[in-house]
């Protein structure tokens, strides 16, 4: 007797722990690849699954293997058409040939082309690594969209608890009519008549015949009743539920950045991480997020992401132009009653003398009323950070923004010199009660 076993329901992912071990092993390399991705890819794509191409170093499995470029070999190959003994065939290129190099070529491909896909979880783990986020925040950021079951029509299969009685009875009724299921009343009527005839003391031959006929009829009807059930499995309908994403309001995220010459690659990379983090946070809470990129020198423009991160502009620095632009865009496209507005500003703190006051006015009087949250990071040189970190001193922009910060609880600012410094500016967003009530 053969032994068939259905293993399909056994747990899969038997390889999961080995996969994790491998990722741990390749961690340094992966980290580099992910960081590269973060700086080149769109903010919204950072937490998608990534195809990773990995060089073999660190994860190679060496063994004593023959060097393909040495020695004398003889191969047997199929499909000879024109060769005769002693023919000489030129070798194509170096170190490989039609048949000869084939095995080698396949192996090489295997090693060079070691590509695989990291899941969203794994990518975020690597991204979070040096952001120094609290664990709770990490796990809440990784949360996928919430689903809620919603009624969506009927189905023929389901759990008994979901039986839709009305629908099932309607089907049953229709089927009973179509198949002409005898009614109980008809049966009773005939049964009564039979009983009546049977009760007759001296039945006439005619009534005897009638009685026999009635009995036959009764029997037919009873059999029919048995065959055409009152409720048949085909009648049953179940309520169908469909998982629907929990509806969320819309959010718009403004990314403001100073792109004057003083912002170098390092500064931009830090700024990007800052924007990505805010985006991840918003993604968790809102179904639809628009991102608006505003860059500024002495004048501000709305640009696309590519331009935002990758092209520089020369000119002075007037921060208030960016705020003006933001206000204009809000008025144009994002009325604050329909949109949750979040803003993230990154700068190295330079500003035209006297303009910082304009910024404070703009923020205090207009923007902060519209915004859910406003985060400002000032990107410092590693060397400066030690000096400025704890003091209130600093650039004029910093000093002016301090004033805003005291007025508005949803205004957060911090100075950063490395990725680990970014988190505090979002601290309040991720606090247990994420209500960002306006003060004041």
């Amino acid at each position: 007797m053969p032994n068939f076993i259905d293993r399909r329901l056994n747990p899969k992912d038997k390889s999961l722990s080995n996969r994790q071990r491998f990722l741990r092993r390749a961690r340094v390399e992966l980290k580099r690849v992910i960081n590269e991705k973060i700086s080149t890819e769109k903010i919204t794509d950072v937490d998608a699954g990534h195809a990773i191409s990995l060089p073999v170093s660190g994860t190679s499995e060496p063994s004593f293997s023959p060097d393909r470029g040495t020695g004398r070999r003889e191969y047997v190959l199929p499909g000879n058409r024109e060769f005769v003994l002693g023919d000489r065939l030129p070798k194509p290129g170096v170190g490989g040939g039609a048949g000869a190099g084939k095995g080698g070529a396949a192996d090489l491909e295997l090693e060079d082309d070691f590509r695989f896909v990291l899941s969203r979880e794994e990518v975020l783990d690597l991204f979070f690594e040096d952001l120094e986020l609290p664990d709770m925040v990490k796990s809440s950021l990784k949360e996928a969209i919430a689903f809620k079951p919603r009624r969506a029509g009927f189905t023929t299969a389901g759990a008994p608890t979901n039986i839709n009685v009305g629908r099932s009875m309607r089907n049953s009724f229709g089927r009973r009519i179509a198949l002409r299921r005898p009614k109980q009343a008809d049966l009773d009527a005939i049964a009564d008549e039979v009983a009546l005839l049977e009760a007759e003391a001296k039945p006439s031959p005619a009534s005897l015949e009638h009685l026999a006929e009635l009995r036959r009829e009764l029997e037919v009807l009873q059999r029919r009743r048995k065959l055409v059930a009152y409720i048949d499995p085909v009648d049953i309908r179940f309520n169908r539920f469909e998982p629907m994403p929990v509806p969320n309001a819309n959010a718009v995220m403004f990314c403001l950045m100073d792109v004057s010459g003083s912002m170098g690659e390092r500064e931009k990379d830090l700024a990007k991480r800052f924007f990505v983090l805010l985006h991840l946070f918003l993604k968790r809470r809102y179904e639809r997020i628009d991102i608006v990129f505003i860059r500024h020198t002495h004048q501000a423009h709305e640009v696309d992401e590519e331009t935002f991160f990758h092209s520089t502009q020369s000119g002075g620095t007037v921060v208030s132009t960016a705020l003006e632009e933001m206000r204009r865009i809000i008025e144009d496209r994002y009325p604050s009653r329909d949109w949750n507005i979040y803003a993230a500003q990154a700068s190295d703190g330079d500003n035209l003398t006297g303009d910082s006051e304009n910024c404070v006015n703009l923020l205090n009087n207009e923007l902060m009323k519209l915004c859910q949250y406003y985060a400002y990071v000032e990107i410092l040189d590693e060397r400066e950070s030690a000096i400025f970190r704890s003091t209130d001193n600093g650039t004029s922009l910093w000093r002016s923004y301090r004033l805003v910060g005291t007025n508005w609880r949803n205004f957060q600012m911090t100075r950063i010199a490395k990725p680990g410094d970014i988190y505090p500016v979002f601290h309040q967003l991720f606090a247990k009660q994420p209500k960002t009530a306006k003060s004041g």
């Binding site: 076993i5 071990r21 491998f22 499995e61 004593f64 004398r72 000879n80 048949g99």
Partner: protein, 516 residues
């Protein structure tokens, strides 16, 4: 053809499978396989799995369970990526050389495919596993699953006790030597897992019991002792070490001074796994050929009995011909000789020679040409050969012509390949022996042996690579592997490449010269 109209014998009609049709079909296949082909198989256990589970099985060497190691994870992500991208499909089945013989069937298969695959794996491969001399000699089908369970548990316990960081490098190093971790000539001793566990336990217990602090206080051996005695000790030691030794991992496991008992046990586990797979690597052509021949014969017989419909048979033939497809060397799809194609063609050829031999066949195969008993001839070939000897004995000129085989000489220094023989009278013998040689693992794998250990001095381990045909080792991999050997041995290790025949030293390298 008119008997086709009668559908009463059909085992199944729809392409969907269910367990009833599986049972029914299994019984029909079994009847043909045992009674008409005379196969002899282990009891079968067929397991239905999903594609994810198949991927899991791929990455664990096809074993249902294996110890944990990152390299399996690496293979997994690699396979998964290619599967998801559609670069390659998954196998329809996977079969494990164990008793009972476990066959995995993919749930996506149609009923026709399940039939094909059952005949192929549960009878073809199964028969081969049970009867081929290599498997009989080198693997223990009864014990392997229990052993793997023991191995997995043992390594997991080691990780708990000594930490992953301590266990992983040992497995890394052992894996690097896997090619050199098999006995090729003498038979490994058999141990049941129960005995295995008891052995480990006893040894540890003994060590704990025998521990005595007093040993530490024994006086050291005097340096000026009689040198001839030391010399004698040494040669005696060498004799007991049984040098030269081809199984590096075995040698290190038994003789390394720095290894802890649990580390030795891990080496042993890796060694046992390598040994278990050794016969499979030597019988690829025969194993697949045997299974393909069996499924092909069985499905035709089933069709003749009216158990399969024409549609079913065509579906099976379609995938059968995909499997035995052999593109020419200049075809973009060419990736070496297809073992299925070669094996199947040779088995069919043997059947032909037994039943309808030509004059040429009678010349080449006087022992069995025209004997009419193709079943017996094949059963005998399956039982007593590996790829190399099988090809050497049974590859017929007719088949060489059919495949249009030719031999190509490749001398690295030259700018040309040379056609050394083609499918003609002068070339048959040479093609046959060259092809056979290319399936000989002993020739293709670098031959590296332990030749000497300097136990008197710095405990230097001397390895020797016998270089054949001027093929040396890939230098990068050689360095990395040598580092692994050093890690296991604990002292310097040197590797010398000696040309076979002339004893000329081609290269010499030592771990002392490698940067760590």
């Amino acid at each position: 053809m008119n008997k086709r109209a009668d559908t009463s014998n059909l085992l199944f009609q729809s392409s969907e499978w269910n367990f009833n049709t599986l049972y029914r079909t299994y019984d029909a296949i079994k009847e043909i396989a045992l009674d008409e082909l005379g196969l002899d198989v282990y009891p079968n256990q067929l397991e239905i799995i999903s594609s994810e589970q198949m991927l899991d099985a791929y990455s664990s060497n096809g074993m249902p369970l294996i110890y944990r190691h990152w390299s399996f994870g690496k293979h997994f992500v690699y396979e998964e990526h290619h599967y998801r991208k559609g670069h390659r499909g998954l196998a329809y089945e996977l079969v494990i050389n164990s008793n009972p013989c476990i066959t995995y069937l993919m749930e996506e298969n149609t009923m026709s495919m399940q039939t094909l695959v059952t005949a192929h794996a549960a009878f073809g491969h199964n028969h081969f596993f049970k009867n081929n001399y290599l498997f009989k000699q080198w693997t223990d089908a009864d014990a392997i699953l229990n052993y793997m369970e023991f191995a997995k548990g043992y390594i997991a316990r080691c990780e708990e006790k000594y930490g992953l960081a301590a266990v992983e490098p040992i497995i890394d190093a052992a894996h690097a030597l896997m090619e050199q971790a098999v006995f090729r000539y003498n038979r490994p001793p058999r141990n049941s897992p129960m005995k295995e566990r008891a052995r480990v336990r006893d040894r540890l217990e003994y060590e704990e019991r025998a521990f005595s602090d007093l040993w530490r206080t024994l006086p050291q051996r005097k340096a000026d002792e009689d040198p001839s005695e030391i010399e004698r000790d040494l040669s005696e030691r060498k004799k007991t070490l049984n040098l030269p030794e081809e199984n590096l991992l075995y040698f290190i496991e038994k003789n390394s001074i720095i290894l802890e008992p649990w580390q030795r046990e891990i080496l042993r586990i890796v060694r046992v796994v390598a040994q278990y797979f050794y016969p499979q690597r030597q019988t690829k052509v025969m194993n697949e050929g045997c299974a393909t021949f069996v499924h092909y014969t069985i499905m035709n017989m089933m069709f003749d009995k009216g158990q399969l419909s024409e549609g079913n048979l065509l579906e099976m033939l379609h995938s059968h011909s995909n499997v035995v497809f052999q593109p020419g060397f200049d075809d973009p799809r060419f990736s070496g000789l297809n073992p299925y194609a070669l094996g199947f063609a040779m088995m069919q050829d043997i059947e032909r020679i037994c039943t309808e031999p030509t004059a040429e066949d009678r010349d080449w195969f006087p022992e069995f040409a025209g004997n009419g008993d193709w079943r017996g001839t094949l059963l005998d070939a399956w039982a007593n050969h590996r790829d190399e000897s099988f090809i050497l004995q049974y590859l017929s000129p007719a088949l060489i012509r059919k495949f249009r085989l030719f031999a190509l000489e490749d001398e690295t220094k030259e700018n040309h390949y040379k056609v050394s023989s083609i499918h003609n009278e002068r070339g048959y013998e040479r093609i046959r022996s060259t092809l056979a040689r290319s399936y000989d693992i002993g020739v293709n794998q670098p031959n590296i042996q332990v030749v000497d250990v300097d136990f008197r001095g710095n405990r230097h381990l001397h390895l020797q690579h016998t270089v054949r045909d001027g093929i040396v080792l890939d230098e990068h991999a050689r360095t990395a592997t040598l580092r692994h050997v050093r890690r296991l041995w604990g002292y310097d290790v040197s590797l010398v490449g000696v040309e076979a025949g002339s004893e000329k030293i081609l290269y010499e390298t030592s771990s002392s010269k490698l940067a760590e």
